[in-house]
Symmetry: C2
Subunit: 173 residues, 2 copies
């Protein structure tokens, strides 16, 4: 019997979403089913999407926040979309289908208080005990870190955008 | 014209190899060729290997250090294998075939002085300027960090092995 882990990749450094993508594909490599919910538009772009297509039937990808960056000036609409995304996450977690559920960039919804943290933590901590959940994003709240089993903070030691190099295919997206 | 980046994922936290795996699959998702050289036996296990098989013809994987953990008491044999691995890395870097070259757990060879760092840096910094190289592993030497374009340090905030949970399928391997 395996113990499902609540895993958080946080911090400002590169590699959070990429590590979650690697975990999703590794689990799918084992033939295990994965659900990925992307909460920020555009964080998974063509490279990721094409890579995921190679695992058809194993990785289900849902893109929330389409057309929408959580910097909207329509806070009510933001909150509605946040709740909609969370409902989807909740049903993926409740489903018996997924070995692993990835909530990509989910921390922002907690950090910016678009969702109440306590009910979210309740769902996360009361899930099927064999299921793994991976949450990425900056500013992981203390309570989430306290509830998690594995937390890595990706720290920026050096970032090329600091040197004025633009985002490019196969690296940033 | 893209600028190839020298990327280092270092630190003691989880996610270094997984982020490199994610980058390899993302680049392959774009249809770009990737060479992965694994310098520590067993760091890429069944899940990764099966995932990579889905990108046949796009990701070439080489496993060095087979039967060998860099803790051998035969230092001469270690040094010979280190040189052999580096020769392969050098030819992958020199080759015009690869968009991205991943040197997984390569930092240890520098840290434990199985290779001289200056000639390695010379190869890394004089490569085809469009090629990306991703190096993972703890203890990235200062000079490597200085030469790199993007460096993320994965810091352990929490690790499940601290709580006595064993490594498990789809998560640790």
């Amino acid at each position: 019997m395996t113990k499902g882990l609540l895993i958080v990749f946080t911090g400002k450094g590169k590699g959070k979403t990429t590590a979650a993508l690697g975990m999703a594909m590794r689990a799918a490599g084992h033939g295990l089913k994965v659900c990925v919910i992307q909460f920020i538009k555009g964080s998974w772009q063509y490279g990721e999407l094409a890579a995921i297509k190679r695992f058809e039937g194993l990785i289900d990808l849902h893109v929330m926040g389409q057309g929408f960056t959580w910097k909207s000036d329509n806070l009510e609409e933001d909150a509605r979309l946040a709740r909609e995304g969370w409902e989807l996450a909740r049903s993926a977690i409740a489903s018996e289908r997924y070995h692993t559920v990835v909530l990509d960039e989910f921390t922002y919804l907690l950090h910016y208080r678009m969702l109440e943290i306590e009910p979210c933590l309740e769902v996360l901590t009361n899930r099927n005990p064999a299921q793994h959940v991976v949450i990425t994003g900056r500013y992981a709240p203390e309570q989430l870190i306290a509830a998690a089993d594995l937390v890595t903070e990706m720290q920026v030691i050096k970032h090329p955008l600091q040197d004025g190099i633009k985002a490019q295919k196969g690296i940033e997206f």
